[in-house]
């Protein structure tokens, strides 16, 4: 067996990835589970980096860890989850879970053993011969050969984003709103009135003198 540095790295990252994946489903604390999921994403990104897919590796860190998982963590932190109550139905749902798991394993086996997939992954693709940037080549393919599917995918994402905003956006009549333009336009004279008050100096002096003469 070839034990070069990338191979060692691959086994190390795979071990971490499997461990993190197991901790996601066995951890008693939901926040710990989400953090292990972050670790799993990060490690899978590193494995992609080993396969010279630098753009994909950085994209998973940037998008999944930097944005999606932050919101995930946010929601899990806010919810006060009762883990014991969630575990009550374990035996009842176990058969369903096993069936789903079996289907997933079967599907992966079909894909990995299929002749479309064999041998393609292990040899470096002609695009990453070291002299060219993986990101640049990927961009060239996406914006020339696959321009229509790419534009379609981005359009679908945009529609989904607008739909999500429209579904959650509601304007409450009772809510008080502030108009920033109005706030900025405020002048000192709108808020502050200066009255000129007649001086009372003379009285103060005389009262002080009276006090002194009384002593």
């Amino acid at each position: 067996m070839d034990l070069s540095f990338p191979t060692l790295c691959f086994y190390l990252f795979s071990a971490i990835l499997v461990f993190a994946g197991l901790r996601v489903i066995t951890s008693r604390n939901p926040v710990h589970a989400v953090l292990h999921l972050v670790l799993a994403f990060f490690t899978s990104g590193m494995i992609w980096m080993l396969m010279q897919a630098e753009f994909l590796a950085i994209a998973i860190v940037l998008i999944y860890i930097g944005a999606v998982m932050v919101l995930f963590l946010f929601v899990v932190m806010m919810l006060d989850m009762n883990v014991d109550r969630m575990r009550e139905g374990f035996w009842r749902y176990l058969p369903v879970g096993l069936v789903v798991a079996a289907i997933m394993v079967a599907e992966m086996a079909v894909v990995l053993n299929g002749h479309y997939f064999s041998g393609v992954t292990l040899q470096p693709s002609p695009l990453t011969d070291g002299s060219l940037s993986n990101t640049r080549e990927l961009a060239k393919i996406i914006f020339t050969d696959y321009a229509y599917p790419f534009e379609l995918a981005s359009l679908i994402l945009l529609v989904a984003m607008i739909a999500a905003v429209m579904l959650t956006h509601r304007r409450r009549e009772s809510a008080r709103r502030i108009d920033p333009a109005q706030q900025i336009a405020v002048k000192a004279r709108d808020r502050l009135v200066i009255h000129s008050v007649a001086p009372e100096k003379a009285d103060v002096v005389t009262s002080a003198q009276q006090e002194e003469s009384a002593k």
Partner: protein, 349 residues
């Protein structure tokens, strides 16, 4: 240099790559830590000057030993973990805060060829690493088991995720004009053009052609590092110190180091992306790392200047600025820039 190091390289054999990389990392991190220490002193001195005070002047001449004294004080303080805090995460928080702040320096070019890792996707790497910074804040705030810390965390997470978008858009504009994700190429690309050939390199840098994005990037950088006037995360007058409230001694000091290391990072990155990095502003002076350091030092001064000048933003104002001002502006500018680059008037051919 090569012949001098060869015997040492032979001594370590195949491990030499690891040793040499570690030496290079120390050569970056050690001056960085020194800069962080003296940044704290500079901050107190500069703000003291702006507020007509003296600032620290007791420890050593002109207070120069103040950072050392502060460091020693923090080192000897007891670290207390709150009851019912999640212990392991409580101590993981500061580590996750400082790790991205240091890791990002791997791709920063200090001079032509003077860079730890000259990676092709340097700009993407930076965006990915800086997007991890929010985890230190979230984890420390949650693990502290404190309401103040939790409030600070909620503010921080929302603010940092929001301003990352405008930072990213500003970088997309830089990417569009330079046509490269490599930071060294981004800097050298700024040294070419009509004005640079006339000996006025300063007018060829990206800050002029991308002026709105320069402003957006630097202001978003201030918001991303949670500095004044966007420091509601640790607003002293309302939630005391935000996510850092339960930390003492060195665990607090690490958050402090991370904040200042991030300030220096944002300054250096603004220099690299918009102010021509190590390039000289005029033709008759030589390029060099001192230009990068001088420009970064000026931007750090602006950080302090802004803190001494502006009152703190209200939280809704921060969110409004990020989402309703910067992001539409960025989208518009990406559009304008695209047309400009494709038109005959393009200056980036």
């Amino acid at each position: 240099m090569e012949s001098f190091l060869q015997p040492v390289a032979d001594l370590f054999g195949p491990l030499w790559v690891v040793v040499w990389t570690l030496v290079k990392i120390i050569a970056i991190v050690a001056p960085l830590m020194g800069a962080v220490a003296y940044m704290t002193l500079a901050e107190r001195k500069v703000i003291g000057f702006m507020q007509v005070r003296i600032g620290p002047n007791r420890a050593g001449p002109f207070g120069l030993l103040q950072p050392v004294a502060d460091g020693l004080k923090l080192l000897f303080k007891e670290i207390i973990a709150p009851t019912r805090a999640s212990k392991s995460l409580f101590f993981l928080g500061p580590v996750l805060a400082i790790a991205p702040a240091l890791a990002a320096w791997a791709v920063v070019p200090f001079s032509d060829g003077l860079v730890l890792a000259n990676v092709n996707a340097g700009l993407l790497f930076l965006m990915a690493i800086t997007s991890l910074e929010v985890y230190g804040v979230i984890i420390s705030g949650w693990a502290s088991n404190s309401k103040y810390a939790m409030l600070g965390t909620l503010r921080a997470a929302a603010q940092m995720v929001s301003y990352e978008l405008s930072l990213g858009f500003a970088l997309i504009c830089v990417l569009m004009v330079s046509g490269s994700l490599n930071l060294t190429e981004i800097v050298t690309g700024q040294g070419e053009g009509y004005f640079a050939s006339m000996g006025l390199g300063i007018l060829s840098w990206n800050w002029l052609s991308l002026l709105p994005m320069f402003g957006v990037f630097f202001i978003s950088g201030i918001a991303e590092t949670n500095r004044a006037p966007f420091d509601v995360v640790e607003g002293e007058s309302e939630i005391v110190a935000g996510h850092m409230i339960e930390y003492s001694g060195m665990s607090f000091a690490i958050f402090f180091l991370a904040e200042y290391a991030n300030m220096i990072l944002v300054s250096v990155l603004t220099t690299v992306f918009f102010l021509g990095g190590w390039l000289s502003p005029v033709g008759f002076l030589p390029d060099g790392i001192w230009w990068l350091l001088a420009k970064a030092a000026f931007l750090l001064f602006v950080f302090l200047w802004v803190r001494a000048t502006f009152p703190r933003f209200r939280y809704d104002q921060i969110m409004r600025l990020g989402w309703k001002v910067f992001i539409p502006l960025c989208l518009f500018w990406v559009f304008v820039l695209g047309i400009w680059i494709m038109s005959p008037l393009s200056i980036w051919k």
